[in-house]
Symmetry: none
Subunit: 221 residues, 2 copies
DNA sequence: TATAGTTCTTAAGGTTTTCTTAAGCTTTCT
DNA sequence: AGAAAGCTTAAGAAAACCTTAAGAACTATA
């Protein structure tokens, strides 16, 4: 799950980014509305966390631009303004949620989970397909009542595939879910992780679609 | 657009219903969780506005029942509880939004609009786990009927973990529970405390989940 | 206020796990 | 058969975590 964090206050941005990373999100930080739009045009963002008090433009304008191009991308607004009227205009401009500062990071995380869940990419902590269930909080995979531990990256790959069950994800898309900017990887890492995963999972659970990518079918078969 | 309003306080319910009707919603009013479920089974409801303080059951249970039957029906929670933890448990139980009382009707309406738009597209003093029990009031730890003294910080770590048994707490979260503002710590303190704690506790009582944090399972194993 | 006894934080070094890379092998398609 | 794509494996590098010990910072007591 990849989050675009638009927050001009560096210390706050850094702290948030850290917490988000700890919660296993990939985070791209930008500090201006213009940069936000540029990043969004690349199309890798799953959720936007947007501070309204930006230096270059009013955050609300950024929000409106986002909405013009993408009607469904989840946007969570973050702001010091706490008048009810601000809230209302934010929500009406197309935000999916609104969190007034100061807030507790745990609440932000909870609200993000709501947005994530809504993405269809059901991201409760436990995701189940057939006899396989993945506990993303405890990093464990349970198959037929046997529980094993999964390392971070393998978990991320499996999670992405399960969340998108029925759809094919290319290696590139998977890489984008695993790695942030400037952290790109230049080898067959994904293949390796998939290989490791397969050893731990039922046969043929992760299918390869040659020339396209990987896929887990919704029914598990 | 048809709203199910679940609110047991008659005057409030009447007032809300009126405002909602003025805002062009169809409103079904019920005053108990049981009635709510009955109404929902008819399947005409678009959005649920749910008060958590109901006479017959805890609103959270109603919410969970709703979620079992319908994963996507938008639910907005309304409640007097305003602790962040309440919010989080509400959101995690499947609510789409959360509005603490008292609120302004206009904000409720704005939040309803968001949901609408989307439609288009431990508190006990003594906690015991297995042979370990922690008396949070007296700051003592008892293992197999032997009482052990714990230094303050170790106790805080253990308490946090035990109170959240079954959940994984990151080092960061633990730090947040231990240190106040301006008291932040810049080293591996948590690791050290955990290390010390482990010497005093049953083997494998505190598990580490690499890349995530620490966890004590509810059963102790 | 001095002193002794705890307790806390840091930091360094050691251990274990996890990640990436790269090379060679296998499958699939033309 | 040959080429391209994918799979597997192993090894070194990197990251995360654990342990220990030393000194700083408390606390209690005289």
């Amino acid at each position: 799950m990849r989050i675009l964090l638009v927050e001009d206050d560096r210390p706050l941005s850094d702290a948030l980014a850290l917490s988000l990373k700890n919660a296993n999100y990939a985070v791209d930080c930008v500090y201006t509305g213009a940069d936000a739009m540029t990043t969004l045009s690349i199309g890798q963002t799953d959720i936007v966390v947007l501070d309204l008090g930006l230096p270059d433009t009013d955050g609300l304008n950024v929000l409106k631009s986002i909405r013009k191009k993408n009607a469904t991308l989840p946007v969570l607004i973050l702001t010091a303004r706490d008048k009810v009227s601000d809230k209302i205009s934010g929500l009406d401009a197309g935000a999916d949620d609104y969190l007034p500062k100061p807030f507790e990071i745990d609440e932000l995380l909870a609200r993000l989970r709501v947005l994530e869940r809504r993405l269809g990419t059901a991201s409760q902590t436990i995701i189940t397909i057939k006899n396989v269930s993945l506990d993303t909080a405890h990093h464990t995979l349970t198959i037929d009542n046997k529980t094993i531990h999964l390392p971070r990256r393998e978990l991320m790959v499996l999670k992405a595939l399960i969340e998108n069950a029925g759809r094919v994800l290319s290696k590139n898309q998977l890489e984008n879910k695993l790695y942030e900017w400037g952290e790109e990887v230049a080898s067959n890492t994904i293949e390796v992780h998939v290989s490791h995963l397969r050893k731990k999972m039922p046969d043929n659970f992760i299918k390869t679609i040659r020339g396209v990518g990987y896929c887990i079918s919704k029914s598990g078969e």
